[in-house]
Amino acid sequence: MNGAALSGAMEISLLRLGGGYLLVLLVLALAARMKIGRTGEILIATVRMTVQLVVVGYLLEFIFTRPALWITVLVLAVMETFAIRNVFARVKFPASRELKRVIVLSMLAGTLVVVFAFLGFIVGIRPWWEPRYFIPIAGMLVGNSMTGISLGFERLASGIRENAHRIEGALMLGATPRTAAHRYAREAFSAAILPTINAMVGMGIVFLPGMMTGQILSGSSPVLAIRYQIAIMLGILAAVTITVFLMTELGYRTFFSRDRRLILPNPDSR
């Protein structure tokens, strides 16, 4: 291990870590007793978690010891791609090509603006792409935006689908698409930023956030750790809000044709 920041952490020996896997045996025993038949899934999840973390640990170690701009950008691109694909995969509704384009655009715009503002401005690291800072922070912003946009997308698509007759009824009375459907964009926006707001409200009382806990475990003073935590929370709030705002505000328009008709992908409305 290198780096002074880790000096305070108590190292877990590999032997003791192996002991941790005994807990999995306990889990398997309990699962068997409850006859849920998920033994395979539990084992696979444990193995995946282990392998993924080992790989990412060595990968980050490698990247941090040889900081390079192109590697940082590549990692960011991989994160964004994975996040966007995950949004598409998670949602039950078919999305039009235009809506997918809106999701990609919102995701990139929302996260990139905040990543650069955060690193360049609030943390003020030089160079701005220093991987030790850039990668974990970008990861948190992208991850939270991904959750927000999935939720917003789901709410927007279901809101418009479930109220299709009402939206059409309004269009038939001469409403603009905005008047007829903006309400569902607003509802989706509100629902998608709510978890972030709730997390801020409970922070420090209901739970100690992961980043801060990690810094404290690695020896940082809690008073310093909360500065980072506050900064990242503000960053997450901004990234989620910008992403979801763009997605809902541009997204509801993709449900209307140029001649102002409501179009639902997979036409089952009429």
């Binding site: 007759h165 009402r166 309004a170 269009l171 038939m172 009375l173 409403a175």
Partner: protein, 252 residues
Amino acid sequence: MRICFPPECGRLLDCPRPPYYGHTVENHLYQFSHVRVRDLFTIPDLAVRAGVVTVLRGPSGCGKTSALRLLNRMTPADGGSILYRGQSLESLDPVVLRREVVMLAQNAVLFTDKVRDDLLAGCRFAEQPDPDEKTLKGALETVRLPKSLEEDPGTFSGGEKQRLALARVLLMEPPVLLLDEPSAGLDRETEEAVFSVIRRLREEGRSVIVATHARDLEQLGDLEVLLFREARLERQARLDRAEPERLPGATP
């Protein structure tokens, strides 16, 4: 007295000079030629006159709703041309068109949880000024809906919701009104409300186009009838006079 155009129609028009179209030889509200909607139906050649009540008749599923939706651009045509007051329908802004050609869907939609706001919804969507209290109450009377403006329409029956929706479009004073099965499966009160709304709009010189699978509207008399026959929409006949004993209210 003028000759209707195009000449194949050849009818002498007794035009009451309605206020909503320029009174030219082209007394046509809509003109269709070679229109096709998916594989559903075609409209080879047809005109819909302004200022009269036109009935679109045909069995369920023949495309009556789609034919109505063609008229306000809620359904696109897949070929052919449609003229509205002599202008190509596609050249018109759909939102502006729908403020003039107002459509009432078959299933009444509620937009709010108060009768007053639901009545005002149409005017607000179309960005018209709100009618005053007296006008709102008058509209409820016209559609025979004796409810307070403060009530929650969520508890209304299907017929009452439909009458509320009728009052809403009446308040918009549309030059052209499209009605899709306005009283199908609903109560007698609603049917009479539909008749009185249609009669009133006709008296005011407005155009009404009604899709229905029943013959119930015949008692209104003086109708243009368009019929779906083998996936084609054609002109059938003009019913000039209702038999007096079949008028609602005349029967005991």
